[in-house]
Structures are given as C-alpha cells and as structure tokens.
C-alpha cells in the first residue's frame, strides 16, 4: 500500500501548505465573514428596494410605473459585476467620494440594488397571485386599502413568494463572489489568494466550493423550516 501512503502524505502536505502554513485559514475565515456581511446587508436592503419597486410597478400612477419599469430594465439588462464596479468606482468613488463607508457596505448596497430588481418582480407576481375577492372582502368590511394590503394580501403573498425568494437569497450569496473586483477579500478571493501564493489550485478552490456549499445548505434547511411554519394554515 505504498502508493496510498504516498498519496495520503501528499494530500496532508498540500492541506498543510494551503490552509495551515502562515495561518492561511484565517484568510478564509475572514472571507466567510465578508461574504455573510455583504449578503445579509444586501438581502435586507434588497427586500426594501424590492418592495418599493414592486409598489411602483403595481401603482396606478404612471410616473411610478415608469420608475419601476426603467429600474428593473436597467438592472436586468446589465451584468452585476459592471453594476458593482459602477457603484463602487463611479458612484461612491467619484460622486459620493466624501462618504467614507466600509467597502463591504458599499458592496452590499451594490448587490441590494441588483437583487432588489429581481425581488421586486417576485413580490409583484406574489401580490398579483392573490385573488381579487380577498381585497374585496377586506374592503367590504371597512378596512382601507393599506390595511387590506398589509393584513390580508401581503401575508398570503409572502407564503407564495417564499420559495422564489429563497432562490433569490441563494443566488445573491453566490453572486457576492465577485466582490474581489472592488478589493474585498471574501471566500472566493481568499481561495484565490491561497492559490496564487501556494501555486496549488485543487485545495483552495475545492475548499472554497465546499464552504459556499455548506453555507447555502444550512440556509436552505433553515428556510425550509420557516416555509413549513408558513404553510400551517394549508394543513387539513
């Protein structure tokens, strides 16, 4: 079994080289922190933007319709890496250069602008999926439009929206792997650093993939639990 020992020793050496030597694992740990911070920030702000843009698109006001339509058109029609670089280098680099926010916040804003467009379409479709009779029942009881929307339509829409929204969260987390373009060291960039200092491709890149996979798997399980709770009223 000499070949096995040789192979196993090789793996161990490479693992040591890539992750242990010079404490290189700390790069990845810090990278996980960046990825999570950017993602959470972008999800929260993205939901706000998504809700606002969906309201614009659902509004009866033509001006708001136009804003919503242009926004979704522009965001969907351009690559997210271009958007990220425009937000970072043009908007915060030139126009708002006096603003001294952390890089990860600016990246989070860029991703929320992007994700907000997709979320708005999910929210819009979810709200439209609720039967008009629900609104009529609410209004006929004397609730105003806002009360009907928030107490009757949106709670039901959320349940329909949820699976598509989970998808969007997951896409968003993976999308943040481009933050290296603006000098942030996330999981992807950390793996890339290790690759270029050690001249090893296998360990750092597979390691990067595994970390993303685990994060998303944990998230999927957690969101699945939430969805089950939301479906409570469907059980017969």
């Amino acid at each position: 079994m000499d070949w096995f020992d040789t192979w196993w020793t090789g793996i161990q050496d490479k693992f040591y080289l890539c992750f242990i030597e010079d404490d290189r694992y700390t790069l990845l740990i810090n990278g996980i922190g960046i990825t999570i911070k950017v993602s959470i920030f972008a999800v929260v702000l993205g939901l706000v933007i998504g809700f606002l843009i969906a309201s614009c698109n659902l509004s009866k006001n033509r001006f708001f319709n136009l804003i919503g339509k242009v926004y979704t058109d522009v965001i969907r029609g351009t690559p997210s890496v271009t958007q990220l670089m425009i937000v970072y280098f043009v908007i915060f680099g030139q126009f708002l250069s006096f603003v001294n926010w952390d890089k990860w916040i600016i990246a989070g804003i860029a991703f929320s602008i992007n994700s907000g467009a997709y979320m708005s379409e999910i929210i819009r479709a979810g709200i439209l999926s609720i039967d008009k009779g629900q609104t009529e029942a609410g209004r006929s009881l004397g609730l105003n439009g806002r009360q009907t929307m928030f107490n009757i339509v949106i709670p039901q829409a959320l349940k329909n929206i949820f699976p598509a929204m989970c998808n969007e969260f997951i896409t968003l987390i993976k999308e943040t792997a481009i933050v290296g373009y603006v000098g942030l060291v996330d999981i992807q960039k950390a793996g890339d650093f290790i690759k270029s200092t050690t001249y090893e491709a296998f360990m750092p890149l597979i390691g990067t993939a595994i970390i993303y996979f685990v994060i998303i798997k944990v998230l999927t399980i957690a969101l699945g639990r939430v969805e089950n709770a939301l479906r409570k009223s469907d059980h017969r």
Partner: protein, 240 residues
C-alpha cells in the same frame, strides 16, 4: 335606509345598469332576481361601492356615499357583504377572520371581538370551528363563517351576492337557514339569488331585473303568482 337615484354603470361599451331608482327601507328583505347578465350583482356591488357608479346617486341614511368627500371606509362598516365565493381569509383561523376587522378598525378590543365572535359562531352553528382554518371547512360552513365575519362589524345592512350559488345542493339549506334567522331578527337585507323558494318565503319585496333595469317589483305573492311584465313571466316560467 338606502335610496338609489338614476344609477348608471357601464363596463367599457357594455351598459350594465341603465337607470336604477329604488328605495330600501330599514328592516326590509329585498330579493333581487333576474337572468344572468341582468346587472343584479353589479347593482348590489354599487351599493357598497365595490363598483363605482358612472352616474346617479346612492344615499345611505341620507348621506350620499358616492360623492367625492364621502368616507367610503366608514360607510362600508355599516354594510356587511357576503360573496358567492365566500372570500374567507385562508391565512387566518375562523376566529381570526371574524375578529380582524373589528379589532383593526378599533371597534372592539381583542377580548370583546373574541366574545362577539363566539356568540356569532353559536348563532351560525359552528361554535366548535373557532380554531379551524378555512381550508378545513365545507362550502356551507365557509359561507356561514363569512356571514358571521360580516356580522362582527355590527352592520345595519347586509348585502348577499349569490351566497348559495357556489355550494353543493345539500349545503344550500344550512346557509339559507342562517339567512332566514337573520331576516327574522330584523336585519335590513338585499339578496341577489336564484333561490326562488327563499325569495318567496323570506322576502318582503322582490325586484326583477333584466338588461340593467328593474322591470318589476312587488311582494313575493305579486311577483310569483301574478307577474305583470312579459319578461318576468318568461323568466319565472323557466326557473320555477
């Protein structure tokens, strides 16, 4: 009391209501009958402004409800509406459905609303369903809950838009029974229905509508036993 003056309503080019004049007094049970597409549902939906009339005036207790500065939401609180397809809120329990509006509109505290809810569930015969979700109920049960939900706002007038049309035949009776008891209690009711038996037994007045007009009105005996209008006779000969 509801007064309707020269009510007109069109959808695109189709004139659905072409000049309705009517007065519905307190305590009356007015049943509106007529063929499909005659405008009876639209007429009913205009009464609580789920449809906006193109022209004409509607007064509830001498307040014009389709004027620009009428407080539609407050007026609707005085008028309960029961729909053909129940429109219960599927994400809320039966009790949640009943208490939502009274609590949100600050008409009652949560405790008062639950107490009222329990009384109403008793009246519609579904006291044990308070914690069920709509998906767990039969059609007839859903409609009885929908009636209880409207009554929770303590309305002065109840509007029924074909309340039994979406029900299995064997469930029609239980809903009509609730409505009969409601009529007996003195509630002002406007009912659009195809249940001629109900009209004959419970109505104080029957309106026959066709092509957007009220063609004939009278007591159930007058309409069913001695109709004057040719269209009324044709219609009744087909449905009775």
């Amino acid at each position: 009391m509801i007064r309707i003056k020269n009510l007109h309503k069109s959808f695109n080019d189709l004139e659905v209501l072409s000049g309705i004049d009517e007065q519905i007094n307190d305590g009356e049970v007015v049943v509106v009958i007529g063929p499909s597409g005659s405008g009876k549902s639209t007429f009913l939906r205009c009464l609580n402004l789920l449809e906006t009339p193109d022209s004409g005036e509607i007064y509830v207790d001498d307040e014009q409800i389709n004027s620009k500065d009428a407080d539609v939401n407050r007026i609707r609180q005085k008028m309960g509406m029961v729909f053909q397809h129940f429109n219960l809120f599927p994400h809320l329990t039966v009790m949640g459905n009943i208490t939502l509006a009274p609590v949100k509109l600050k008409k009652m505290t949560k405790e008062e609303a639950v107490a009222t809810g329990n009384e109403l569930l008793e009246i519609v015969g579904l006291a044990e369903k308070a914690d069920s979700y709509p998906a767990q109920l039969s059609g007839g049960q859903k409609q009885r809950i929908a009636i209880a939900r409207s009554l929770a706002m303590k309305p002065e007038i109840m509007l029924f838009d074909e309340p039994t049309s979406a029900l299995d035949p064997e469930m029609v009776g239980e809903v009509l029974d609730v409505m009969k008891n409601l009529a007996k209690s003195g509630m002002t009711m406007v009912v659009v229905t195809h249940e001629m038996g109900f009209a004959r037994e419970v109505a104080t007045r029957v309106l026959f509508m066709d092509e957007g007009k009220i063609l004939e009105k009278g007591t159930p005996d007058e309409i069913f036993d001695n109709p004057q209008n040719e269209r009324t006779r044709q219609f009744l000969s087909k449905v009775l």
